[in-house]
Structures are given as C-alpha cells and as structure tokens.
C-alpha cells in the first residue's frame, strides 16, 4: 500500500470515528424536535439545511422554552460564529470552482474542520474535510430521523455510556499531533485558557472565537524562523 493510501486510510478512520461519536447527539436532537412539536420534515430540514449541531440545539431549545423567533435565530447564529473562523482555516485547502466551494462550504462544521485542518498538505486537508463532513452529514440526518421516529426516551443513555466525553476526546486526539511543536503548544495553551476563563461569562460559541482571536493578538507569525 502506498504511503498516500496509508495516510488516506488513517484519515477515513478519523472521519468515521468522529462521525460515530456524534450519532447519539443526532438522536437527541430528533427527540428534542419531537418534544418541541416539530414534524419529521422540519427536524430533517434543520439537520440538513442548518447542519450545525450546537446551533440547532440552541434554536430549538429557545423555541421549546417559548422564546421568540428572533431569539431562537440569534442564539443559533451566535453559536455558529465560529464557522467563520473555520472557513478562514479551511479556505486555502478548498480551492476550486465557485460551485465546488459553494457546495463544500455547507460541510463547514467542527468535525470536518478538525479532521481536515489537522492534516499536512492541502490535498489531504481537503480529503479529510470532505470525508468527515459527508460522514457526519449522513449519520447526523439519519440519527435525527431515528430520534424523531423513536420519539424521546434516550433518557440518560448518553451519560450512562460516557458518550458525552467522546467529543472532547476526539478534538483532543486531532490536536495532539500538532502539539509536538513548541509554538503550537503555546497557542494551544493560550486558546484553552482563554476559552476556560470566558465560558462562564459569554454566550456559548464565543469562547472558541475568542481563543482564535487571542492567537491573532499574539501575532506569532511575526517571528521569523519558527517552523510550521
């Protein structure tokens, strides 16, 4: 097996594991939709057209709690502001025709960016992004449908099986290889600390943006001679 194929195989494994990790949350989202009075097609509309897990949860929760349309949309958008930063990170690897960029942009979610951006070359980044994005898209919608169909009743299964810990573990696993360089250790530390300190005080989604902004302020690219 060629070295490239070995790498690609590894990336496909990462993509499939991370999309399996989110499946219980897809079921939970479907169940939440049912509780909020949404029908099957409405729930699937959210999971395919919005396709941003935390934003979907936030918007439906606000609606279910009797919030206004405006409040639901704003809550959802605030959580998704980070995809603007993901776009900046992934854009150089997603070059192509306007149509190609327009379609692949819909996959700009945490998991696709995480798997994509942790690869070495632009072509592998694109490969990881598409694989993770598509596998999450398919499983997320399938599981939303399962959740709506089975009504609620997932209860505490996610917690009992420790599945809620698989998401941070997956993000950690993707960040890990980068942490061999001193520079990345520093900015990872800064990002983690900034996020940790802000979580209690700002709406969800903002700590992640602030962590990225903090690195912008550090201006590490000004230091010549540091490796990538």
């Amino acid at each position: 097996m060629s070295e490239l194929e070995t790498l690609r195989r590894k990336i496909r494994m990462q993509a499939i594991s991370i999309s399996l990790a989110i499946t219980p949350f897809g079921v939970a989202f479907g169940a939440l939709c049912t509780e909020a009075g949404l029908g099957t097609w409405e729930a699937l509309g959210f999971s395919s057209l919005v396709f941003a897990g935390s934003s979907q949860f936030a918007a439906i929760t606000v609606l279910a709690e009797g919030g206004t349309i405006m409040a639901a949309v704003i809550a959802g958008l605030l959580l998704n502001l980070r995809s603007l930063a993901f776009g900046v990170a992934m854009a150089p690897s997603l070059q192509g025709s306007l149509l190609w960029r327009a379609i692949t942009s819909q996959l700009m979610i945490d998991e696709a960016t995480a798997v994509g951006s942790s690869q070495e070359s632009h072509s592998l980044r694109r490969y990881g992004y598409i694989w993770a994005g598509l596998s999450v898209f398919v499983l997320w919608n399938l599981m939303t449908w399962v959740g709506v169909t089975l009504l609620s009743g997932t209860g505490t299964l996610i917690e009992d099986l420790g599945i809620d810990a698989t998401i941070p573990a997956a993000f950690l696993g993707l960040a890990w290889p980068k942490l061999s360089s001193k520079e990345h250790q520093v900015i990872a530390g800064v990002g983690a600390v900034v996020a940790f300190l802000l979580v209690p005080f700002v709406p969800p989604g903002i700590p992640v943006i602030a962590a990225a902004a903090a690195v912008l302020l550090l201006r590490p690219w000004g230091k010549r001679g540091s490796h990538e």
Binding site: T166, K178, G191, V199, W221
Partner: protein, 105 residues
C-alpha cells in the same frame, strides 16, 4: 408557515453565510497576504484546544464539571501512549462511564 420553519430558513441562511464566507471570498485569491496564510495555518490549534475545553465543561449552556474530565484525561494518557484514534475515543467513553458508575457523578 410554522415558527419552526421560519427559524429553520433564517438560521440556515445565516449559518450558510458564516460557513461559506471565507471559502467564497478568500479561496481563489492565491496571493493572500502572508500573515493571513500563517494565521490560517495556526488557527486550528487554538480552535481545537478551545473546543476540547468547552465540550468538556459545558452541558446545555451550563458549566458542569463531571466525569467527562476523567474521560478526557484518560484520552490524554492514551494519546501519550500512541494508542490509535478510534481506541482513544472508546477509552474516553469507557473511563467516563466507569467513573459515573462508581462515583455516581
């Protein structure tokens, strides 16, 4: 149209704008300033680090320190021992579930 459909359409339009902005506006400009390219290369690291933190300590918009921390620490140990990615995920879930079972947190 139900409220949910209005929210869905507005949110879909908004999130798509955020997702597609950089790829559509920046992507084919091959002469991006150096600092933007450098920033884009470094960006994933703080983003991932922040996602690890937020997904470990928040639940339904609340800060909750619970057994997930045990799972993440277990994942860290597994990663340090060069365990494959899939197993790291399984180990994190198992450690968390076990801790909840024993400590009830």
């Amino acid at each position: 149209m139900s409220d949910a459909v209005v929210v869905m359409v507005a949110l879909a339009a908004g999130t798509y704008t955020l997702k597609a902005f950089a790829p559509l506006v920046l992507s084919n400009k091959r002469v991006l300033p150096d600092w933007i390219k450098r920033f884009a290369m470094l960006l994933p690291t703080p983003l991932l680090a922040a996602l690890v933190i937020t997904s470990t300590i928040t639940s339904d918009d609340q800060i909750i320190f619970d057994a997930r921390i045990v799972g993440v620490v277990a994942a860290m140990v597994a990663l340090a021992k060069r365990v494959p990615f899939v197993l790291v995920i399984v180990i994190a879930a198992a450690a968390t579930a076990l801790w909840r079972l024993i400590a009830g947190l």
